[in-house]
């Protein structure tokens, strides 16, 4: 089983949930920018959370299946069609042999296929590490005519397909409701844990940092989002020694325009750290396009952890519900 890239889009890559455990060797965790969309798309086709899927950032993407497949799309503002027929996001569908899936809009759309994308595991993961050129599909963004192998669906994925075939349906009657999805917005406010160097901002800059909105600059990518807005200044010039950073770290380079580090960030950085976007709000940031605006607010660490646990609870409940639905054979669970 496989699918063929007919239109590659811009920087479309194979991603999973990253490769933890190698940061000491300078390897960023990487993985999907919007981990929640990635996990939900996998969930809907019976895959484990970390199965490899496509991440399609911008531009039109088209792919053609060489065998029947069960597919789910997740992300912000998705318009897609299968052989010209509009299909929904957050709700899986069956694609027949030869079917052409086209993504017309969307920002970082996760495309999960039952069985996952079966590229080799490198350093414990299948995601693409583009700067180092390993993982994913030959360590690079996808191009037209690339042929990507699909793995063996899980028993749950197979049950899902049988249920759809028996019912004669293309689009599934299960999906992820709005309550489970991140609350995407064009101008989101994302919450941060205050960083060690935030106190070095001048009072006026601190007011601007939390009061103004910042625009995502065109030169933003999986490594980081450059932000345009009021210039921020420190009370003194700081000589920083390289220290650990993480996904969501907001750095302030000497020019005064902040950068938010994203999934392919480096493991260490030498700029003052104003704060770190909490895991719960990272999907909102990941789904912004160049030109979109973002605002920052603070949150206490305990509150961030409460949100984190709530989301994990919701996702595991959704997974459990899907398993229950398909656990009994026959049609009685419908």
């Amino acid at each position: 089983m496989s699918f063929i890239i007919r239109q590659a889009g811009i920087q479309t890559t194979v991603q999973d949930l990253g490769r933890p455990g190698w940061q000491h060797a300078g390897v960023p965790e990487g993985g999907a920018m919007d981990r929640v969309a990635h996990r939900i798309a996998n969930l809907l086709v019976g895959n484990p959370d970390g199965a490899a899927a496509l991440e399609c950032p911008l531009g039109s993407v088209a792919l053609q299946f060489t065998a029947p497949a069960l597919v789910a799309l997740a992300g912000r503002d998705i318009a897609a069609s299968l052989d010209g027929v509009t299909i929904p996001a957050w709700q899986p569908f069956r694609a027949e042999t030869g079917a052409l899936l086209a993504l017309h809009t969307g920002c970082r759309t996760s495309v999960a296929i039952a069985g996952g994308i079966d590229v080799p595991v490198v350093l414990g993961a299948r995601g693409t590490s583009m700067r180092a050129g390993f993982g994913g599909f030959h360590g690079r963004a996808l191009r037209r005519d690339d042929i990507l192998p699909i793995g063996e669906p899980t028993p749950l994925g197979k049950q899902m397909v049988s249920r759809l075939v028996e019912a004669g349906r293309m689009i599934a009657d299960w999906g992820a409701g709005p309550a489970l999805r991140p609350s995407y917005a064009i101008q989101p406010t994302v919450r941060i844990i205050e960083g060690p160097e935030l106190r070095w901002l001048t009072d006026a800059s601190r007011e601007r940092f939390f009061g103004a909105s910042f625009r995502v600059a065109p030169e933003s990518d999986r490594m980081g989002f450059r932000l345009q807005g009021p210039t921020l200044a420190l009370t003194r010039s700081m000589e920083m020694l390289s220290a650990g950073v993480t996904v969501g770290t907001i750095q302030l380079p000497p020019g005064g325009a902040p950068i938010v580090l994203m999934a392919d960030r480096q493991t260490t950085g030498g700029y003052p750290r104003l704060g770190d976007v909490i895991a719960y709000d990272l999907p909102l940031l990941a789904q912004l396009r160049p030109g979109d605006d973002v605002r920052f607010d603070t949150i206490a660490l305990d509150d961030a952890h409460t949100l984190y646990r709530h989301r994990e609870h919701d996702l595991s409940r959704a997974r459990h519900a899907l398993h229950l639905r398909f656990a009994s054979s026959g049609h009685d669970a419908r």
Binding site: G26, V122, A243, G244
Partner: protein, 228 residues
Amino acid sequence: MLTRTLVPLGDRALTIDFPGIDGTAVRDLIRCLDDRVRADAHRGITGQVAGIRTLTLHYEPLLTSYRRLIDQIDDTLSTLIVTPLVAVEPVRIPVCYGGEFGPDLDDVAAAHETSPDAIVAMHAAGTYTVAMIGFLPGFPYLDGLAAELHTPRRASPRTAVPAGSVGIGGGSTGIYPFTSPGGWHVIGRTPRALFAPTREQPALLQPGDRVQFIPIDPAQFRQQLELP
């Protein structure tokens, strides 16, 4: 007990720093703490990054908590034995200096009002210590650059420094494992692969390793080339 500061780095990481301790003392402390935390394998720690004077721990909030980690670190610090670095045999890294492999060698020589040969001789005479790994997979920040070679970074960074490039940035020297943007002065290139995901130990160098550079000519470079 040591004075430590501990700050959250978002909701899934924290950074430990030791104000008031500098130089070799803080390097030894970070290295020993890093090793000990790895050996203790506390539940929920998903990554460790040793900086120049800090240790950053990444964690999974479902498996541990910020407070539990603080307690574990303080317990560790109360019994930690800090040992000096054992002087191991240096890793010898062949470097083809100058020419197409070291486009900034002449500029560095001019900045120090000396000859390119003198720069090469001084760079290759040193024994360096890996202070930390960061920036790129396997990128070593090396301590021990002679003061006569300290050179401010390039005014405008290059968009693509080739893999294997040996650079000088301020008071540090290092090697780019992958082609990447970079602002350091490139004085040579090694044919060795600094990072190979298929090797049992993917990164050639670890913090604390010692390094010496061995000058080679372009023919030897091509012969020893491990990079694609």
